[in-house]
């Protein structure tokens, strides 16, 4: 983070990061101010006005700019509220998985030896688990809701954090200033939190962005399979799933949430790519 703030000129010379962050900021804005921005109640159904096409079609109206869905709910309003679901899930999952993965990685990388062997084993076990099957099974067995989805994905998706933090910590641990801090009598916790963590922060942020994107996609896939967020909550994955039987004659019903989902994930990945270049400029 310190790198990004201290060198604003370099930030601006990185178009990927700027474009990615701009899209994310716009989506965040939409998500936060959804009640003010949405033209209609996203749950209000009018089953006499179903699958009205968007305004650019012949039969479209300005009243429902993106048309209505299969139950006559305003599609733009649902799309706007859907941003909330995606972003909430993306960030919450990473908050959980980031804490788990970083803790494991820090401990393994810093202490090495048996701790490292143990953490490596857990990571291998986790990697050997077919994530989507386990997530599907847990959601199917314990019921689908936004919180179950967040908990399941958060508890499953920490592997990348653990792997990267572990190897980065190993490198940093050998550096002089850590050794001097330790000889100066600093506590382990202090060294880990004050010396090691800030130095691996750039890598952490890059992984976090990738993981946010991946969590959003996973939620969409779970919801698409009917085992994620439950209706009538608007999730983009669920919207695609609900509209898929209409796709031949009203393709926009899946194209609109599909595009929104792809744009958000693309923007996050773009920002992550830009951040990576910023941190390791010699690679680009």
């Amino acid at each position: 983070m310190t790198i990004a703030i201290s060198k604003p000129s370099r930030l601006l010379r990185n178009p990927s990061l700027v474009v990615g962050l701009a899209i994310i900021a716009a989506m965040l804005f939409v998500a936060i101010f959804a009640p003010l921005l949405a033209p209609h109640d996203p749950y209000m159904q009018d089953i006499t006005r179903r699958a009205v096409p968007p305004v650019w079609y012949e039969k479209g109206t300005w009243d429902n700019i993106l048309g209505t869905d299969q139950l006559g709910r305003d599609y733009l309003s649902r799309l706007i509220y859907g941003a909330r679901v995606s972003l909430l899930i993306g960030f919450s999952v990473v908050a959980i998985s980031g804490v788990i993965g970083t803790t494991l990685g820090l401990l393994a990388g810093y202490f090495g030896g048996r701790v490292d062997t143990f953490v490596t084993f857990i990571v291998t076990v986790r990697l050997a688990m077919p994530v989507i099957l386990v997530a599907l099974a847990v959601v199917a067995l314990f019921g689908g809701s936004i919180w179950v989805v967040i908990a399941v994905l958060g508890l499953l998706k920490w592997d990348r954090f653990a792997v990267v933090v572990r190897s980065t910590t190993q490198q940093i641990r050998a550096l002089d200033y850590i050794a001097s801090a330790r000889t100066a009598g600093a506590s382990t916790a202090w060294v880990l939190l004050r010396e090691v963590l800030p130095n691996i922060a750039p890598q952490l942020i890059v992984i976090a962005t990738i993981e946010v994107a991946s969590a959003i996609l996973m939620e969409a896939a779970l919801s698409f399979l009917g085992l994620g967020v439950q209706p009538p909550l608007p999730s983009w994955g669920l919207m695609i799933s609900e509209a898929k039987s209409y796709m031949f004659f009203s393709f926009w019903l899946i194209a609109i949430p599909g595009t929104a989902l792809a744009t958000l994930v693309f923007a996050i990945n773009l920002a992550g790519d830009g951040l990576r270049d910023l941190i390791t400029p010699e690679r680009s």
């Binding site: 077919p130 989507i132 314990f142 896939a221 031949f248």
Partner: protein, 305 residues
């Protein structure tokens, strides 16, 4: 070398067993299977009988050990839903999934190697940027959305490929494209990064300085080194492939392992799910082990690690 392989093999087995313990515990924690199985007109007596027949009256660790003992002898139990042998059921479906996986992997490699090499050679150019964008877009496009779009274009509008089934190679084209595109980006990134590193090594620089033709340097020396980590990624990608194939197989009604697993979740068909999870975790550990061995063989320095 042999000791290294044996040590890793032992570790792999322990990992697969741990996964199966977790899966077993999760599934058994979810409620009373006997009541569900007993079905209509279930008196407490008949539930008790079922509990006994399926061995559900025993403590969970005992159930696990007896399941494991049966598995060790090749008996994966009976499917609750189809009332047939689990091993036979899995065996009947695994072929389709293997074909799909191999085809997807082939598509992913065919796309990622040339594009990755191109991006690395012209690093920083417009080609590099285009390839990066393509890879980012691949990561952003949800596989189920791509699958539906492919059906729309190739099955409906062009009528080139069927949208469902597994009768001929034509049935595998759309699912393999979906899954292949989905797993292409990580390979492409790895090839690009590996190539950039390889092109910057002293060895390649020397070769270039000696005046060897650029093409030969790139393909003979740099690419070979760049592909080493790709071998490892194939194993890691198996998980991603499997996850993708659950979605893709169910959309394309491809009668394979992924769809079977998805069904067995909906039907609470635990013996089938248990079998599939064990098989997948075994496949993962064995493939990682294989790729490690290949890597160690390619690069002796790794053997010490």
């Amino acid at each position: 070398m042999l000791i290294y392989i044996l040590k890793r093999l032992g570790l792999a087995l322990i990992v697969a067993l741990t996964v199966s313990v977790i899966a077993f515990a999760l599934l058994r924690a979810s409620g009373d299977i006997a009541t569900a199985l007993a079905g209509e007109g279930a008196t407490p007596e008949s539930i008790a009988v079922i509990r006994q027949t399926y061995g559900l009256d025993r403590p969970i660790p005992v159930q696990y050990l007896s399941w494991l003992w049966d598995v060790a002898r090749g008996d994966f139990g009976q499917s609750y839903f189809f009332r047939t042998d689990v091993a036979g059921l899995i065996f009947g479906k695994i072929g389709n999934t293997l074909i799909l996986g191999a085809a997807s992997l082939a598509i992913a490699l065919a796309l990622s190697i040339p594009l990755g090499v191109l991006a690395a050679i012209y690093s920083g150019s417009i080609i590099d940027r285009a390839v990066t964008m393509f890879s980012l877009m691949g990561q952003a496009l949800p596989s189920f959305f791509l699958a539906l779009a492919l059906i729309m274009v190739f099955a409906i509008n062009l009528r080139m490929f069927p949208a469902s089934g597994a009768d001929s190679w034509r049935n595998f084209v759309l699912p393999a494209l979906t899954l292949g595109y989905y797993i292409t980006p990580p390979f492409m990134r790895l090839v690009r990064a590996g190539m950039i590193d390889a092109l910057n090594t002293d060895y390649v620089r020397t070769a270039r300085a000696k005046g060897l033709p650029a093409r030969r340097v790139v393909f003979k020396h740099a690419l070979r080194n760049a592909l080493v980590p790709v071998v490892g990624l194939v194993a890691v990608q198996l998980g991603l492939l499997m996850g993708g194939s659950v979605v893709v197989e169910s959309i394309f009604a491809l009668d394979g392992l992924g769809y079977l697993a998805y069904q067995s979740i909906s039907y609470r068909d635990f013996p089938v799910l248990q079998g599939v999870v064990l098989l997948l975790s075994l496949a993962y550990v064995v493939l990682t082990l294989l790729s490690d061995i290949i890597n160690a063989w390619l690069d002796p320095r790794l053997r010490a690690a």
